[in-house]
Amino acid sequence: MEAIFQALISGLAVGGAYALVALGFSITFTTTKTLNFSHGEFVSSGAFIGMSAMLLLLGKPITSTTFGGAVPGVTAQLLALVAALVVMGGLGWLLYVIGVRPFAKQPGMAWVMSTLGFGVVLDSIGLAIWGPKPVVVPSPVGDSVIQILGIGVRPQELLLLCVAVVVMIVFDVVMRKTMVGKMMRAVAANGAVASLMGINTNAVMIGAFVVSSALAGLSGFLIAPITQASLFMGLAIGLKGFSGAMIGGLNNPRGCVIGGFALGVFESTVNLWQAQWREIAVFAVVILVLSFKPTGLFGSRLVEKV
């Protein structure tokens, strides 16, 4: 019984990371109908930006491969978080301007290649600066295991879980209740008409990429203390986050988060059964869900008029 509860909690902890990444995919999709396929690389980059900021504030070179036991204070952590959000947001703007806008209006899927390529560029630059060695990043909320009735979880994992839920609620409210949200949904529904109605579609689209990329920075910042900061960490998380978004429904932020959590819990219960079949089981479920509900469990049906 304890094992099942542990699997549930551990699954939610892992799922928190997937949920945040899934939300990042959702934001650009609901406004521009494009996806940043290098979202995973953005997550790794965010982790490294945050880590470098903390190293700088501790008076160490950004290429240090260890914190050497030093734990950055609250101010340093917050400044690092701001750095990760701002730098990644800026990169998101850059990605939109050079990688998405020139291709978004054209037929075909050139933006898929250009966002993928942007990720490769980010990865290569990251390797040149920080090298391949993973770096252990101290957690802002400590690293000692919290035991509840024999079930263990780390504070950082709980933090990630809470942040994912809060971000989901904020995003959900903004999309449904505010003018900005209505503008974003209008642009997604029909960019030309939205533009005629006086909505600055360009600004909305840029905004979507900035917010989505800043969210990747936040994800990287929060995930790094759990996985270690590594340039290779984003690839797996990006893929799983995307799967979570597909299961939950790409155009529904609530669905994305639930999909991410569900995927995490599903993984850890498969681990209780036969861990070597996990990846197969995960993608079998994704395919199964998509074949019955092509827009995901919570996604609304896409009505395309031709």
Binding site: E2, A3, Q6, A7, S10, A13, V14, T63, T65, T66, L127, G131, P132, K133, P134, V135, V136, D143, V145, Q147, G150, I151, G152, V153, R154, I226, T227, Q228, F232, M233, A236, S268, T269, N271, L272, A275, Q276, R278, E279
Partner: protein, 399 residues
């Protein structure tokens, strides 16, 4: 940065050497082909190169080999098999090296081992530990792959001997491995040697290389009553297994692959958890006077002090090759191979004195009885012993 600069220096000096073909009659070129920059194992490859350079400097200072100077041609394969194959052709066909060292990653050796066997160029692997690297292409065929490094199967043999000594009835054993090629290869060796030793694992569990929570798998082992776990994985995932043990407060005896010697493992697990696993290495951080001398020369060029073992492999592998060239009195690959398989003179290395290290059938210079048991203690890799380790004899290491 220092190591990168050092390597840049090597590359620069080598390209200079290559630009003076007139000198080639007076020199013997040897190559290194392995990852120096891309994967977390790159620091091991860098250390091996540093050790090889030290050996070459020593040999050249003593008059060279057969009156000729040795020079080293270094190629970085960035851990990619296609690049590694390309490097190999370049080293053999363009640079005309007499022998090659490396690679850093086992998979790359498997990618080009047919090439060196066809072209009859001896290779001494001084980093990667994959069991199959030194196997001949077909039974009884001439084999040009030699090794002065750790061997996965030999480690497994020693770990299983330890489990056997502890009594497989008193200890309920479980196996864990990651789902990569490295983990699966180790698991295969573990299963087959356990069978030879008459050990039956109570449970076998696997996990992904990037996983951060292995509590589900550990709870299954706990439920099966396992009190000794053998883990085959890379440094970071082993650390994640240890961290998951802490979550469910389950601390069985942990024996692991030598990847736990990587500083990334120590950093990720944290001091308390990192000190738990026992594993094997070719050397601990308690150095002999001769090893200390080399450390004083090259220590500053290493990314982490724990990677010094690869500098020792690098040093000794060059010394063994030099002796074989002397004995062969020739630069011909197949003659050197025959000499390597029948070395008449013992080679005094830094890890040990190699007395006939290789034969027609054995291409491993270091085997289970040469390895030392180590664990982390206060940030250093120190020798470990207990009643079971002390009572191990070569006869206990079953293949």
């Amino acid at each position: 940065m220092k190591a990168i600069r050092a390597i840049a220096g090597i590359v620069a000096s080598l390209s200079f050497a290559a630009a003076v073909p007139a000198a080639s009659a007076q020199e013997i070129k040897i190559g290194f082909n392995g990852d120096l920059s891309a994967s977390p194992s790159a620091q091991s490859g860098q250390a091996a190169v540093v050790g090889m350079q030290a050996a070459i400097a020593d040999l050249n200072a003593a008059g060279g080999v057969l009156g000729k100077k040795l020079t080293l041609v270094v190629r970085d394969d960035t851990s990619r098999p296609p690049k590694s194959i390309q490097n190999m052709s370049d080293l053999i066909d363009n640079e005309k090296v007499v022998a090659v060292f490396g690679p850093t990653n086992s998979g790359n050796a498997m990618a080009w081992k047919h090439i060196v066997n066809q072209k009859k160029i001896p290779v001494i692997d001084n980093v990667s530990s994959g069991t199959d690297i030194t196997k001949p292409m077909s039974a009884g065929a001439d084999n040009y792959m030699f090794r002065v490094s750790m061997v996965d199967r030999e480690q497994v043999a020693a770990l299983m001997a330890y489990v056997k000594k502890g009594g497989s009835d008193a200890k309920k054993i479980g196996f864990m491995s990651e789902t990569t090629g490295y983990g699966q290869g180790g698991l295969k060796d573990m299963k087959s040697i356990a069978e030879t030793q008459g050990i039956t694992p109570a449970a076998i569990e696997q996990f992904g290389v990037g996983d951060t929570d292995m509590t589900s798998q550990l709870n299954k082992l706990k439920a099966a009553g396992v009190n000794t776990i053998v883990i085959w994985a890379q440094g970071t995932p082993i650390a994640q297994v240890m961290r998951s043990m802490e979550k469910i407060n389950y601390y069985p005896r942990v024996l692991s692959s030598w990847a736990a010697d990587n500083i990334t493992f120590y950093d990720a697990a944290g001091k308390n958890l990192a000190e738990k696993p026992l594993f094997l290495r070719t050397v601990s951080e308690n150095r002999t006077p001769a090893q200390d001398k080399l450390f004083a020369r090259v220590g500053s060029q290493l990314k982490a002090p724990s990677s010094f073992s690869f500098a020792l492999h690098g040093y000794d592998s060059v010394m063994i090759l030099a002796q074989a060239i002397k004995q062969a009195n020739s630069m011909d690959g197949s003659t050197i191979r025959v000499a390597l398989e029948n070395l008449n003179t013992p080679v005094k290395g830094l890890l040990k004195t190699y007395n006939k290290p290789f034969s027609k059938t054995n291409h491993e210079a270091l085997t289970a009885k040469d390895f030392v048991w180590v664990h982390w203690k206060d940030g250093r890799l120190v020798p470990y012993t207990d009643a079971f380790v002390a009572s191990l004899t070569p006869a206990d290491y079953k293949q």
